[in-house]
Amino acid sequence: MKRKVNKSVLFIMVILIVFSMSGCFDSIEADEMAFVVSLGIDKGSSGNLILTFLVAVPISIGVGGEIGEVEKSTTIITVEAPTINGAVSIVNTLLSKRISFSHAKLVLISKELAQEGVEKYINALIRFREFRPTMFIAISRDKAEEFLKAVKPVLEINPAKFFEMFMVSYKHTGYSPRSELETFYLKMECTCNQPVAALLDINDVSDSSEFERILSEAEIDEDSTIEGDYKAGEIPIISDTKSSNMGLAVFRGDKMVGEMDGREALSYLMVTGDLGLVYYSLPDPEEGRKYMPGDFTGTEIEKNYISLRLGMARKPSIKVKIKDDRPIISGSVFLEGDILSVDSDQDYSVGEELTKLENYASEHIRKNIYEFLVKTRDEFKSDICATGKPVKKTFLYWDDWVAFKWMDKYEKAEFNVDVKVLIRRSGIMTKNIPMSLLKGKDK
């Protein structure tokens, strides 16, 4: 009898736990929530913030196998409030659903606000469990609100997936940094590193006649190609998708101190080892001459390019020596790649020509990286490539390291950059037989 009573008590207890664990208090259905895909933060009036919520409209994204309407897949809500959570409360007063950030992909902070410091916003985002640590963070060169209004994904109906893929495009373009919320916070709090964020803007070019103006405004190196020499919003491109992600925002502590273009972002990825597989064009080492038929027969100088696909062969190595209280930073970058295209008649696939191309590409990239590092030192005074890490490893005690003040030392750094490029393959062709060899230059 006693055993029976015991078993009944146990059974009741287990049932009680099972039912209570279903979480009656916290139960909320997915269709009772409004999922924010992206949050824009702009400076408001009298110390307030202007917060823009790009909210997914699941019913328009599509149900089951049915495809929804791209145009209606998101809705925009903009509100002025002193805090992010305060803005959420205000938005909740006009929605039938509760705002949720558990699927938010991007936090976009305006440049104006970033220049004043982002620590308090980052702290708010890190503390609130709904914001994922892997959420992306970016800086909008113009207003974040305008950017989010202009975003019109064309090839992707799911706005969350659009932002996710948009922000990881650095892996195959190399023109923006890896820019996740927690990584940003880790770097912001680090004593040997400074944070960077992706640079976004609206690219509102409607006609190709504007290209010339854009190119004349861009800072283009004469020896270099022009691809990647832009910042977001300044790219000569016409598209239904207005959003552009190119360049990086440089921070010192929590304050944005400058911008870098796509090519500099590429150098950043090479030095930090975050580079994926990217297309990289460089001028042909040989000066090209083009035969001009017709009334002006003869040849004239022609700009030829070589396109490579580059990736990291090994993780980059950074070594630092301190000499007379001045750091001498030696960076070694080892890249490998394939030849994708060669404009000229030159065959760079084998032998001496291949070595010549490898050496030329190495020097070309070395120069870019060196200029990039000098810019971080002189213009921004910000160690965004974490060159302080090897120095930190030479210390035994925390107090000694803090007293060393690495960030001050970085301003006096000297750089030695070594780049090695190895061409592993030459596409699906072993060589290219120029037409001129078969038919003559004027045929």
Partner: protein, 374 residues
């Protein structure tokens, strides 16, 4: 008495019970608070604590050998008679009561922060109390067997989380290598020995072990395994989150699990963490409540333990509701328990065993003197 003889605990079961008792704090706040004490060298601090505990336990086990068929309260009785047993029993019981109360509140607060955000804290604590009551009701034999089933699975899940964190490891985050310096590490190691305060439970289950002599190897293996989990867990955490940022997160391993994102599909794996965490919590609290009631029963020579379960559960629930907020609960643990618990875990058993040995020696001498005089 008949019931007592029926209880049999295998070596592996006892080992798993101890590992879960030690390591459950790893999923609470252990990596954070050692990070506060040890800075970038927190993993060295943990290694140091584990070595110290291993050495102390080896010494304790050696002098305990002559009492290997008795639990620590029997030893206290040998040393100081019935009053000694009652005082020692109450001391150990109060330690466990305090610990279980804090832990139930911490677990409840944690689940409120990460999962049941709108559920009142009283409801969450009640849920834990029901679970712990059920476990403690079933008894130590059942708890040990469930531990033997659960601990390998929980360990695998724990290691899985740590392995997935490897891509984010950065050795510069644990530099400067000696953090605040060896002197500070040694000084901070002493209160942190309290991380192993549940070692006392081994001294209570000795009479129930299949082979009573095995308590030495069970204790050693439990310290070694837990030392490994503590060190690897702390090392992983600090290799991902550098000091002083490592002192900021409320639940270090949860944060570690939350940040894992490998590709588009392997993310949000904190769901595994919550399962590991809740299972470990229920087993820990059930075992804790069992030992509280067992110590009380044994101290006062009561016949049965089960009638004590509901009153003690109510007591634990009531005390757990006293702290005003999460930080008050944390202060109870970090400010008081951690600083003094090692005295009850290490010093008191050493004192009792030494006293019992001395008394046994004196008695033997007296007996031999009497025999000689006769």
């Amino acid at each position: 008495m008949q019931m007592k003889q029926k209880i049999k605990i295998g070596n592996f079961e006892a080992l798993c019970l101890l590992i879960n008792m030690f390591c459950s704090k790893l999923i609470l706040d252990f990596p954070r608070y050692v990070s506060e004490d040890g800075g970038t060298a927190s993993w060295l601090l943990v290694l140091l604590i584990s070595i110290v505990v291993f050495v102390v336990f080896t010494f304790l086990a050696r002098i305990y050998k002559k009492f290997s068929d008795k639990d620590i309260l029997d030893v206290a009785k040998l040393a100081f008679g019935e009053p000694g047993k009652i005082i020692a029993g109450l001391l150990f019981m109060l330690q466990f009561l305090y610990l279980v109360t804090i832990v139930v509140r911490e677990f409840a607060e944690d689940i409120k922060v990460i999962s049941l955000t709108t559920t009142p804290i009283s409801i969450i604590i009640s849920l834990f109390c029901i679970g712990m009551l059920t476990g403690a009701f079933l008894g130590i034999e059942t708890l040990c067997r469930i531990n033997a089933l659960a601990v390998p699975v929980l360990s695998a899940a724990f290691i899985f989380i740590l392995l997935l964190s490897i891509p984010r490891f950065d050795s510069s985050k644990i530099a400067p290598w000696l953090g605040p310096g060896p002197a500070v590490l040694i000084k901070k190691a002493i209160p942190n020995i309290s991380a192993y305060s549940e070692l006392t439970t081994l001294l209570f289950i000795i009479p129930y072990l299949n082979d009573k002599g095995n308590y030495v190897s069970i204790g050693k293996y439990a310290i070694l395994a837990s030392g490994f989990f503590f060190t690897v867990g702390t090392l992983t955490y600090t290799l991902v989150y550098q000091y002083p940022m490592s002192t900021e997160f409320f639940l270090p391993l949860y944060q570690l699990a939350r940040s894992i994102a490998i590709g588009r599909f392997l993310s949000r794996i904190e769901a595994i963490f919550i399962l590991v965490w809740a299972s470990s919590a229920f087993l820990y609290l059930s075992s804790g409540l069992y030992f509280v009631t067992y110590m009380f029963k044994k101290s006062f020579g009561l016949q049965t333990r089960k009638p004590l379960l509901i009153p003690f559960t109510i007591l634990i629930f009531s005390i757990a509701m006293i702290p005003e907020n999460l930080y008050s609960a944390l202060r109870l643990e970090m400010g008081y328990y951690r600083n003094y618990a090692w005295i009850i875990t290490i010093i008191v058993p050493l004192f009792l065993v030494t006293a019992a040995s001395v008394r046994a020696k004196i008695e033997r001498r007296n007996k031999s003197d009497e025999a000689k005089s006769q």
